[in-house]
């Protein structure tokens, strides 16, 4: 390894491959990270347009945009399904794990690249293929209108006889394979390729977050893959895993899906935890408070996340003891997440805080996550959940705690690292405006949904009684503000690349202590060829 690196040095000091080789056959962790980020941004536009269409339809009672027939209502279901799938599998996961993970895990641990660069390339292109399959699914046989949970019997051949659900299943299989390969790559990289002296307990918290996320992926995704395969054979090859007429049980699908689905929400939010920890520490000019507690809180969230899945399915008729267990286990998660919230606050406490845009996003993340966490405690109560189940209260809860929180984490990461990735800083005023528009927008959008949900407004229905009209109207105005904020982000992106001021290795100064700030901006083609010596450094420095 060392020899080949030396040889590399001499031969191609400034050699860049051609466009096709660089972007289509890429094995460079930074280029692959960039590709992931672009796919996530494209998918975010598609998934976002779907949600704005939904909000436009829901702005007033009655059916305005969709036609009042089974095809129209199926179309609405397809929008809801597509929005969920795209945002979870093709926006947040690619951006957080594939994008920032690929870019910064090797940089932060002092590794020259990922452990398996070619496998990294396969991961990316499998994801792209999965995305295309999902888009195909939406355009054939009326599209998959199953919701992202794909519950049978709705997803069975009886109710979705066309090929749409099969394409959707294939899409998730391919995207799942991509994530599993990516996760293996991260774990091997983090275990084996840390710079000398970068012990496990000195890794930056973002790397910790990625390590735990990768393990969650490895444990959860195969279960989804198994369940999806059963569904596929039920639909096409005459098996009856989920068909009660043949001795199967649709509730088994719910168990399998949520055994994957609950860890999946931590897969989405843990990388955001990591990003927020780096940012809060940088802009408070303090090492993060309770570093080990922060790392093991994430590990605890990961472990407990595997034994709470049935809180998504309280309504299937569990006995009281089962419900008591899942209620208690779910509430236990509030302890490690509380450790994280209070450690972030303690990091800021007494720190020399600079409210740069990434820090604004980090603080906004903490606020949204706490709001979503509080409603999560409410929903954890099985008896209360029997009433809240499938209402907009749940929609508001999970958009706060994992949807918008994750998006804020991504924005925070983008503003924090764009100088490193592009060599140019974002335009200050425009970015602040973008933050405020987006932050106000999402709160106006989702906060009223607590009230309409509390009043009983059901999810996934395109029409509603007039009583819910005011909250929905406000919510749709919030969606409009959010749309403007999103659009402005792409203006910020353009202005950054077109006219951003060039930055040096460390634009954030004293507080930014992690290794990615020790290399030039933009990060050169090859980094850490001479492994940095981290011996004797404090944790996460």
């Amino acid at each position: 390894m060392a020899n080949s690196v030396e040889a590399h040095h001499g031969e191609h000091e400034h050699h860049y491959p051609g466009f096709f080789t660089r972007w289509f056959c890429s094995t460079n962790h930074k280029d692959i990270g960039t590709l992931y980020l672009w796919v996530a941004m494209i998918a975010a536009i598609i998934g976002g347009v779907m949600s704005w269409y939904i909000r436009a339809e829901l702005a007033e009672p009655g059916l305005q945009l969709i036609s009042n027939d089974p095809e129209g209502r199926q179309f609405y279901n397809v929008l809801v399904t597509g929005h969920g799938f795209i945002m979870v599998f093709f926006v947040v996961m690619p951006a957080m794990i594939g994008g920032f993970g690929n870019w910064f895990v090797p940089l932060m641990i002092g590794a020259p690249d990922m452990a398996f660069p070619r496998m990294n390339n396969i991961s990316f292109w499998l994801l792209a293929a999965g995305f295309i399959l999902l888009l195909i699914a939406a355009f054939i046989d009326g599209g998959p209108g199953t919701g992202w949970t794909v519950y049978p019997p709705l997803s069975s051949a009886d109710f979705h006889p066309g090929r749409a659900v099969d394409f959707g299943i294939l899409s998730l299989h391919v995207a799942g394979a991509s994530s599993i390969l990516g996760a293996i790559n991260f774990i091997v990289t983090i275990f084996n390729m840390r710079a000398p002296g970068m012990t496990i307990h000195r890794m930056p918290l973002f790397v910790w977050a990625m390590l735990i996320t990768a393990f969650l992926l490895l444990l959860a995704l195969p279960v989804l893959a198994g369940g999806l395969t059963m569904l596929l054979t039920d639909r096409n090859f005459g098996t009856s895993f989920f068909d009660p007429g043949q001795g199967g049980d649709p509730v088994l699908w719910q168990h399998l899906f949520w055994f994957f689905g609950h860890p999946e929400v931590y897969i989405i939010i843990l990388p955001a935890f990591g990003i927020i920890s780096q940012i809060v520490s940088t802009f408070s000019k303090k090492p993060v408070f309770g570093y080990l507690g922060m790392a093991y809180a994430m590990a605890a969230i990961g472990v407990v996340g595997f034994v709470v899945w049935a809180h998504h399915m309280y309504t299937v008729g569990f006995d009281v003891n089962t419900r008591a267990y899942f209620t208690a286990a779910t509430m236990v998660i509030a302890v490690p997440t509380g450790v994280k919230i209070f450690s972030w606050l303690a990091t800021m406490w007494g720190g020399s805080i600079r409210m740069e845009v990434p820090m604004m996003y980090a603080v906004a993340f903490i606020f949204l996550f706490v709001v979503g966490g509080v409603t999560g405690i409410t929903l954890a109560n099985s008896s209360a959940d029997l009433v809240f189940h499938d209402t907009y209260y749940v929609v508001a809860h999970f958009h706060y705690v994992m949807g918008i929180a994750a998006i804020l984490g991504m924005f925070a990461g983008w503003y924090y690292w764009i100088g490193k990735m592009s060599g140019r800083q974002y335009p200050e005023t425009l970015s602040r405006l973008q933050f405020w528009l987006f932050f106000i927008g999402v709160n106006v959008l989702f906060f009223p949904q607590h009230f309409s949900g509390f009043a009983g407004m059901p999810r996934r229905i395109p029409d509603y009684p007039d009583a819910y009209a005011p909250y929905n109207y406000i919510s749709s105005i919030g969606a409009l503000i959010t749309a403007v904020g999103t659009l402005l982000f792409f203006v910020v992106l353009w202005r950054t690349y077109a006219a951003g001021t060039r930055v040096g290795a460390n634009p954030w100064g004293e507080g930014a202590t992690t290794l990615e700030w020790s290399v030039d901006s933009p990060a050169p083609w090859h980094t850490h060829e001479d492994l940095p010596d981290m011996a004797g450094k404090a944790p996460a420095e």
């Binding site: 109710f159 006889p161 774990i187 444990l219 195969p222 198994g226 001795g247 088994l252």
Partner: protein, 199 residues
């Protein structure tokens, strides 16, 4: 120490094993889940006892109600003969369901069953039941089908179940053949619900 490449491969292989193991676990969950339901009476799965199994007798009684449903894809008329029975605890009782093939075809169906409240299931035992085998009816044929069961007197000793005064035994008939002339998919797709409540 082994080279970095060897060490990388070693970890990668163990991680792949982990993935394959989890995939296997997903499939293993199918029989495990069934076993779990059977053993614990989960989801209202009643116990199945072969005839002649020794049972404690008791003087207490409990009401058993009977419910019948038919999947839309099966053109049968399916009803309990008696709506309810008051049965002695620990004593085998016999009840009948009447089913009629209202179609012009020879049809085979199979019934799935459970009891409500779910927590009563572990005290509800079937000795013999028409649902243990598939039923085939000629066009227009009508038959009475028996179910023999008993309720364990222990139901009144368990603090979780002692307040139960009535147990509902429910059946849903599904078609066995899955070919298109027996299973009308378009019909069940247009209808909102899969089951037609017949009682």
């Amino acid at each position: 120490m082994a080279s970095l490449q060897t060490r990388n491969r070693r970890i990668a292989i163990s991680l792949v094993t982990l993935v394959v193991g989890m995939l296997g676990l997903a499939y293993a969950s199918v029989p495990l889940y069934e076993l779990f339901c059977r053993v614990t009476g989960y989801g209202g799965t009643p116990k199945i006892k072969i005839a002649g199994a020794p049972v404690k007798k008791s003087n207490g009684t409990i009401e058993v109600r009977f419910d019948a449903n038919t999947n839309k894809a099966l053109q049968w008329h399916f009803k309990p003969v008696q709506v309810k029975q008051t049965v002695k605890l620990g004593e085998p009782s016999l009840a009948f369901y009447r089913v009629k093939n209202t179609s012009a075809n020879l049809l085979t169906g199979t019934a799935i069953f459970n009891v409500t409240p779910f927590k009563a299931a572990s005290y509800f035992s079937k000795i013999d039941c028409f649902c243990f085998v598939e039923q085939t009816l000629k066009p227009g044929q009508e038959i009475d089908m028996p179910v023999e069961f008993f309720v364990d007197p222990e139901i009144f000793s368990d603090p979780k179940t002692q307040e139960i005064s009535a147990i509902t035994l429910s059946y849903t008939f599904y078609p066995v053949e899955r070919d298109e002339d027996n299973v009308d998919r378009t019909l069940s797709r247009k209808s909102g619900s899969n089951d037609e409540i017949d009682s």
